[in-house]
C-alpha cells in the first residue's frame, strides 16, 4: 500500500505540474509569436511606422519595385470597424436581455432565455458564417445594395456571435446587485423602470463594461465567420456596403500561400502579434475595471 502521506505529496505536485504546464504553454505561445512577429522589423527591416500607418499592401513586391509594401492599416482598421459596429448592434440586445432576465422576468423569462443564450453559444462559428453567406449576403445584395459581401454583413454576423457573451456576463452582474438597493428605491415610490435605469444599471456598470470588453475581445479574434462574409478586399473600411478585410481574415487566407521566413509570411505573424497585444490590452482593461472587486 502506498503510504498516505506520500500519495498526498505526489497528488499535490502532480496537480502543480498541470498548472506549470499552463504557464509553459502561455509563455511558449507569446515567445514564438513575438519572435516571428518582430522579425518583420528586425530582420526584414520594415519600419514600424509603415506597417501600422500605411495602406499599401504588397509584401511580394521586390526591392527594385520599391517593395515590399506592408501597410497593415486596412486590416487593423477593418477589425476595429467590424468589431465596434458589431458591438453597437449587439449591445442593446445583450444588455436588454440581461435586464429582462434579472429585473423584469426573473422567473419564467430567465428559465426560457438561459437555454436560448447557451444555444447561441453552441452554434459553431463556421455555421454562423455559412448562414451569413447563404442568407444575409444575398439579402443585402438584393435589398440594400452593393455586392452583399460587406462591412455590414460582417458586423451583423459578429453581432449575433458576441451577443451571448454580452448577455450572460451582464446578467451575472445585475444578479450580483444586492436586493436591498432595489427595495430601497422602490420603497421611495420610484417606478420599476426608474429603479432599473437609475439604481440597478449604475450599480451593475463594472460588470456591464466587463461584458463589453469580453465581447470586443471575441469580436477581434473571430476569424472564419467574418472572413466568409466580409469580402476580403484590401481597402480601408469607409463604406458600410463595401467589402473589406480584417486581421484574422488576412492571416486565415494568406498563411498557406506564403513561405515561412519570407517577408510576406513574417508580416502575417506581426499581425498575429498585434492580435496578441490587443487581447493583453483587453485583459488589463478588465482587471482595471474590476480592481477592488472580487474577480477571478
Amino acid at each position: 500500500m502506498v503510504n498516505v502521506n506520500i500519495s498526498n505529496r505526489i497528488g499535490k505536485y502532480t496537480t502543480f505540474l498541470c498548472a506549470v504546464l499552463i504557464i509553459t504553454i502561455t509563455i511558449a505561445i507569446i515567445a514564438l509569436i513575438a519572435f516571428k512577429g518582430l522579425s518583420t522589423f528586425t530582420r526584414d527591416g520594415v519600419s514600424l511606422r509603415s506597417f501600422l500607418f500605411t495602406t499599401n499592401w504588397n509584401p511580394d513586391a521586390t526591392a527594385s519595385e520599391g517593395g515590399p509594401f506592408v501597410g497593415a492599416l486596412p486590416f487593423i482598421a477593418g477589425s476595429v470597424a467590424v468589431s465596434l459596429l458589431a458591438l453597437l448592434f449587439s449591445a442593446p440586445f445583450g444588455i436588454g436581455i440581461a435586464i429582462f432576465m434579472s429585473e423584469i422576468s426573473a422567473g419564467w423569462g430567465r428559465r426560457i432565455m438561459q437555454p436560448v443564450i447557451e444555444l447561441f453559444v453552441g452554434i459553431p462559428s463556421v455555421v454562423y458564417g455559412w448562414i451569413g453567406l447563404s442568407v444575409l449576403v444575398p439579402f443585402i445584395r438584393n435589398h440594400i445594395g452593393g455586392m452583399g459581401f460587406s462591412l455590414l454583413a460582417g458586423s451583423i454576423v459578429l453581432a449575433i456571435m458576441i451577443f451571448p457573451t454580452l448577455a450572460s456576463v451582464s446578467t451575472d452582474s445585475f444578479n450580483a446587485n444586492p436586493a436591498d438597493i432595489r427595495e430601497a428605491s422602490l420603497a421611495l415610490g420610484v417606478t420599476h423602470w426608474q429603479t432599473i435605469f437609475m439604481v440597478m444599471f449604475p450599480a451593475a456598470m463594472p460588470g456591464v463594461l466587463t461584458a463589453i470588453v469580453l465581447a470586443l475581445a471575441r469580436a477581434f479574434g473571430e476569424a472564419l465567420a467574418v472572413q466568409m462574409v466580409i469580402g476580403n478586399a484590401i481597402r480601408l473600411p469607409t463604406a458600410l456596403l463595401s467589402p473589406m478585410h480584417t486581421m484574422t481574415s488576412i492571416i486565415t487566407m494568406e498563411m498557406s500561400n506564403t513561405v515561412m521566413g519570407t517577408v510576406s509570411n513574417d508580416v502575417l505573424w506581426s499581425i498575429a502579434f498585434i492580435l496578441l497585444l490587443i487581447s493583453f490590452t483587453f485583459i488589463m482593461l478588465i482587471r482595471t475595471i474590476n480592481r477592488g472587486r472580487a474577480v477571478r
Binding site: 498526498n8 497528488g11 505540474l17 505561445i29 436581455i97 459553431p124 448562414i131 472564419l224
Partner: protein, 294 residues
C-alpha cells in the same frame, strides 16, 4: 402623455419585445439550418467520402471530428482537473498562483486562429508532425485547456466546505479527501462542463485549418492498425473535420453540389451540438438526483 407610470409600461413592453426577438432569431436560425440540411442528409451522405462530382458525402469528416474530440478530451480532462484541483485546493495567495491565473486568462482570450498558427509553427513545422491528427489534437488541447481548468475549478470550488471538513475530521489526508469526497461531489458540475466544452471543440475550425489540415487521405475503415498510413487511426495523417469542411466547401468548393453539402454538414454539426447540450443538462440533473437520493 409620458408619465413615469407610462414610461414604466413602455419599458417593460420593450424588454419583452427584445426577449421575443432574440428567441425568434434563434428559432429561425436553427429552423433554417435543420430545414435546409435535413433535405440533403441520407445514409449515403453520412458515410461516403467527399467527391469532386455531385453526390459526395461527409463520412470521413464526421469520423475525424469525433476522433479529434475524443483524443482532445482524453488530454484536456485530466490536465484541466489537475489545474482545477491545484487552484481550488492547494494554491496559496502568492505570485505563482497569480501567474497561473493570468496565464489561464491569457490563453482563454487568445483568438483561435492565433492558436492555429502557433500549432502550425510548433507542431507542424518545428516538431515535423505535419498536418496531422496529432497536431490538431495538440492545438485543440491548448484551446480547451483554459476552459477545462475553469470548469474544474468552479465545480470543485462549489463543493461545500462541510464535506471537506467532515472527511478531514475522520482522519483522511487532504489527497484522500480530494479524490474520494470532493471530486465525487463535483461530478455533476464536471460532467456538465465537459460535455458543453465538447460542443465547442466539435465545432472549432479556425485552430484546425493549419494543424489538422483541410484534406483527408483515402481511408480504409477496416484497417485498424494505427501505424499504417491509410488506417483511420493513423495519428500522422491529415484530418479535415466537419467544421473545417464547411469552411472549405464555401471557399474553394469544386463539387457542383457544394451548397447542399454545406447545408447537410451544418445540420449535422448543429444536431451534434444540440445533442451535447441536451445530454449535459439531462446527465447533470440525473446525477444530482441520484446523489441527493431524490
Amino acid at each position: 402623455m409620458i408619465t413615469p407610470r407610462n414610461s414604466d409600461r413602455i419599458a417593460a413592453v420593450i424588454f419583452y419585445l427584445i426577449a421575443f426577438l432574440v428567441s425568434a432569431l434563434l428559432a429561425a436560425l436553427i429552423g433554417y439550418i435543420l430545414w435546409q440540411g435535413l433535405r440533403v442528409i441520407n445514409w449515403h451522405f453520412l458515410i461516403s467520402p467527399p467527391s469532386f462530382e455531385a453526390g459526395g458525402g461527409i463520412g470521413p469528416e464526421i469520423f475525424n471530428s469525433l476522433m479529434l474530440l475524443v483524443l482532445t478530451m482524453i488530454l484536456t480532462v485530466p490536465l484541466g482537473l489537475g489545474v482545477g484541483i491545484y487552484l481550488s485546493e492547494f494554491a496559496g495567495d502568492n505570485q505563482v498562483t497569480r501567474m497561473i491565473r493570468i496565464c489561464i486568462e491569457t490563453l482563454a482570450s487568445l483568438p483561435s486562429i492565433v492558436i492555429g498558427i502557433f500549432g502550425l509553427l510548433l507542431f507542424v513545422t518545428i516538431l515535423k508532425w505535419g498536418f496531422s491528427i496529432l497536431s490538431g489534437v495538440m492545438a485543440l488541447t491548448v484551446l480547451n485547456l483554459p476552459v477545462m481548468s475553469r470548469i474544474a475549478e468552479d465545480a470543485i470550488g462549489n463543493v461545500h466546505k462541510d464535506l471537506r471538513e467532515a472527511s478531514l475530521a475522520l482522519g483522511a489526508t487532504q489527497w484522500q479527501t480530494i479524490v474520494n469526497v470532493v471530486l465525487v461531489a463535483a461530478i455533476p458540475g464536471l460532467v456538465t462542463g465537459i460535455i458543453l466544452s465538447s460542443g465547442r471543440v466539435f465545432g472549432e475550425a479556425a485552430a484546425l485549418l493549419y494543424t489538422a489540415g483541410v484534406t483527408t487521405p483515402a481511408l480504409q475503415f477496416h484497417n485498424l492498425n494505427p501505424f499504417s498510413s491509410n488506417s483511420p487511426f493513423y495519428l500522422f495523417r491529415p484530418a479535415e473535420t466537419l467544421a473545417v469542411h464547411i469552411w472549405k466547401v464555401n471557399s474553394e468548393g469544386v463539387a457542383p453540389d457544394s451548397r447542399q453539402i454545406a447545408d447537410g454538414a451544418s445540420a449535422i454539426l448543429i444536431i451534434m451540438v444540440l445533442l451535447f447540450n441536451v445530454t449535459s443538462r439531462w446527465l447533470g440533473r440525473l446525477i444530482y438526483a441520484k446523489k441527493t437520493g431524490q
